[in-house]
């Protein structure tokens, strides 16, 4: 019988207090306002970690609250990459800075560790996860002025990111969530991945994970991944994650998964007020039950998650409420399992 857990993925919304500190620093970029902003980010992240603990999330994340966007730590720090113009982040009203590839991509030292609140995560005494955008998605969103093919770029990125994961493992990280919107979005746009591209994608994920051996989840969001599932079963990851607002639960139920699942059953693109928030845990649990046949009756773990990162569609107040819905859905399913 499957066991259940719940966790949040990717970037979480800033609180209004942190936004105020951001604004003050933008208006008056002084050491004093910078220090106040850093303090606000730290407090905000700690509050988010506390909330996850209270709501039985595991693994927990730091929420990447002070990242400009999910790509920016790499865009701003990797050798061979410069920061370009903004582009829309999938179906949201948020944007990312385009990575412009001007030379061979690499890094002499781990990058993401500098952008992660490792001490706070470790002091929470809970398993914690790191989040990153996959080398496939990053390479497809980048503007390539250097490599002969995007696949060459993807593998160099995977090598650089593998060093990050190794460093995370050494610091006590237990899982990595690999955010992977691009393949499923391409399916919707009719820009389907051919056999060779799927093979290269799978190899890039293998390269990414080879040095760390971290427990890993590959999360496909913002598109319908139904047509990719057969290939995904061969990926060297422990969990496959799906955005259930876009990949129908019925599609997943038709497959037999030998891996764990991360089910993005919390439909974060819509906002709910009080009475519907009451009903939401039941809805989430019911959606997850639709997928249960896919778990092969085995002992895999199923994580309940939002259907993608929350920072791009929710205010902090909304996100905190939804996280509680996720937690209540978990309790319903644990009672049932």
């Amino acid at each position: 019988m499957a066991s259940f857990g719940a966790c949040v993925i990717g970037k979480y919304p800033r609180s209004d207090q942190t936004w105020d500190a951001v604004k003050r620093h933008q208006t008056d970029p002084s050491p004093k306002t910078l220090s106040a902003l850093e303090e606000a980010n730290r407090d905000d992240s700690r509050a988010f970690i506390r909330l996850q603990k209270e709501q039985q999330m595991s693994p927990i994340i730091d929420g990447s609250l002070d990242w400009d966007d999910l790509l920016k730590p790499y865009t701003g720090s990797l050798e061979g990459v410069r920061v370009g113009g903004i582009e829309r982040w999938y179906e949201t009203n948020t944007f990312y800075y385009t990575p412009i590839i001007t030379g061979r991509v690499g890094s002499r030292e781990p990058i993401l560790l500098r952008y992660t609140r490792v001490a706070d995560l470790n002091s929470s005494q809970r398993p914690w996860a790191a989040s990153l955008v996959s080398p496939y998605t990053f390479s497809r969103l980048a503007k390539n002025h250097h490599y002969r093919s995007r696949d060459e770029l993807m593998f160099d990125l995977a090598e650089a990111q593998a060093e990050d994961l190794k460093a995370f493992k050494a610091e006590g990280c237990s899982q990595v969530h690999i955010l992977e919107p691009e393949p499923a979005v391409r399916e919707i746009l009719g820009l389907n991945l051919d056999k060779d591209e799927r093979h290269q994608w799978r190899e890039a994920i293998r390269t990414l994970l080879k040095k760390s051996n971290l427990t890993s989840g590959l999360f496909l969001c913002y598109g319908d991944a139904s047509t990719l599932i057969d290939d995904l079963l061969d990926f060297s990851v422990d969990y496959l994650g799906f955005d259930l607002a876009r990949t129908p639960a019925e599609s997943l139920a038709q497959h037999t998964f030998s891996k764990g699942l991360m089910l993005g059953a919390l439909y974060s693109d819509i906002s709910l007020q009080a009475d519907l928030l009451e009903e939401e845990p039941g809805r989430i649990a019911s959606l997850v039950r639709k997928v249960l046949p896919a778990s092969d009756g085995g002992s895999q773990k199923i994580y309940l998650t939002p259907n993608h990162e929350l920072s791009t569609v929710s205010t902090r107040g909304e996100a905190d409420q939804r996280l509680k819905s996720l937690s209540r859905a978990l309790r319903i399913l644990q009672g049932a399992s």
């Binding site: 113009g85 582009e87 829309r88 948020t94 944007f95 990312y96």
Partner: protein, 417 residues
């Protein structure tokens, strides 16, 4: 209104230069800001500068404040005209931002909190919690009246379209009803989104347009530009199977365009959308009858090399232009010839020229091509916006000259706007 081949236009917003912003808001202006504002005024040849100079310099009495405000808005108009653009607006200087400015004057919404946009930018997300209510607001009319009285070029008014307003808002009014009716929340969202969008279109946006039409003097035509950055963001709104299940014959965005653009004497409709995958638009846009021009983003993502082949013109906006030709799309297309994202630099005029010439070549009709910017210019500084304007208008003239030389086309021939 007749215009020339390859007319040029910006999209709507200008950088909110602090000096001018303070003048418009009737707030204190520093000595440095006064000097900057007045020297810009001199550069672009603003009329009656001595009158305004005194008002700006002595910004203290109520009368001076009004004059200083007038100078600020007049500056935006003259700035656009001075650069040679064929269509003009007020740089959206009186507007906070494109979502909030529209929604804050409409009944039925409440504030939810700050929603991230990018970097350190945010917007105030609102939730619809009661029926949408038109509050007889004068804000668009006030803006238009001033521009109409002072503009020397055709006036183009940007208004955020109802579909984008809906997409960026939370729906605590229509959605709950559909969520209780439908087991499938995706279908529920789609149905609620349609009702919200069309209700907003009928009660708010069309009212604004009718009010503007009444303000027109001397029967001068005016362009309403419906800004829709969210047009193609919700991809399932274009899925045929889902539309069929919902009982919709068209995507919400397309139905909204038809609903928001009733035939009104002297009103011409344009659309602008950026940062999108436009390929989903086709073939649906063929169903839209009343829009004369679709302006898209083409420079962002394009190469910065001159050339008029598919090898150089790689932006996804150019992919849309090629698809548009395949589908027999005959409307005018606003081709973004210059990027305007934060940190953008002015394009080479030769590249502007070739973006125009390539679009004309693909469409096999030069009169379908209008040279536009990719998007508004709020994220830039005034100096960069000035340099972009020079490059765009020089590049457009080079394209006219080239077209005349290559094809013997009389570029002085007036084409209908």
């Amino acid at each position: 209104m007749p215009t020339r081949l390859f007319p040029t236009q910006e999209i709507g917003s200008l950088p909110r230069d602090r000096a001018f912003l303070n003048l418009i808001k009737r707030q204190p202006v520093t000595l440095e800001q006064k000097v900057s504002a007045l020297s810009w005024g001199q550069l672009i040849g603003i009329e009656d500068l001595p009158k305004y100079k005194q008002a700006v310099w002595n910004l203290s009495t109520g009368e001076d404040k009004e004059l200083a405000r007038e100078f600020g808005i007049l500056f935006a108009i003259r700035f656009i005209e001075h650069l040679g653009y064929d269509r003009v607006w007020n740089g959206e200087w009186p507007r906070t931002e494109m979502y909030d400015y529209d929604v804050e004057h409409v009944g039925g919404f409440r504030r939810l909190g700050w929603q991230e946009s990018y970097d350190g930018r945010r917007y105030m997300k609102r939730a619809l919690t009661a029926p949408i209510e038109y509050r007889d607001s004068e804000y668009y009319v006030e803006e238009y009246s001033f521009v109409q009285d002072h503009a020397k070029r055709q006036v183009k008014i940007p208004i955020t379209d109802p579909h984008t307003i809906q997409t960026w808002s939370a729906d605590h009014y229509h959605l709950p009803r559909y969520l209780t009716q439908e087991n499938d929340w995706i279908l529920a969202r789609l149905k609620a989104a349609r009702e919200f969008t069309l209700d907003y279109a009928r009660k708010i946006t069309v009212n604004h347009i009718r009010r503007i039409a009444k303000e027109r003097k001397d029967n001068t035509p005016v362009i309403i530009q419906l800004d829709g950055p969210a047009a193609v963001t919700q991809k399932n709104e274009y899925e045929r199977k889902l539309l069929k299940r919902a009982g919709f014959s068209l995507p919400i965005y397309v139905e909204m365009l038809n609903e928001t653009t009733p035939p009104i004497d002297g009103i011409n409709y344009h659309v602008h959308s950026c940062l999108n995958h436009y390929r989903l638009w086709l073939p649906y846009l063929l169903e839209v009858k009343s829009i004369e021009q679709f302006s898209i983003e083409t420079a962002n993502g394009d190469s910065d090399q001159p050339g008029t082949t598919e090898k150089e013109r790689i932006g996804r906006g150019f992919e849309f232009i090629r698809l548009a030709k395949e589908h027999g799309f005959k409307k005018r297309i606003g081709v973004g010839v210059a990027s305007t994202f934060e940190g953008a630099t002015p394009p080479k005029p030769e590249v502007v020229r070739d973006r125009i010439l390539y679009a004309a070549k693909v469409l096999e009709d030069p009169e379908q091509v209008v040279a536009t910017l990719d998007c508004g210019q709020r994220a830039l500084d005034l100096q960069t916006a000035h340099q972009i304007g020079i490059a765009v208008n020089l590049g457009a003239q080079m394209a006219r000259d080239a077209f005349e030389k290559m094809y013997g086309y009389d570029s002085a021939k007036a084409v209908s706007a």
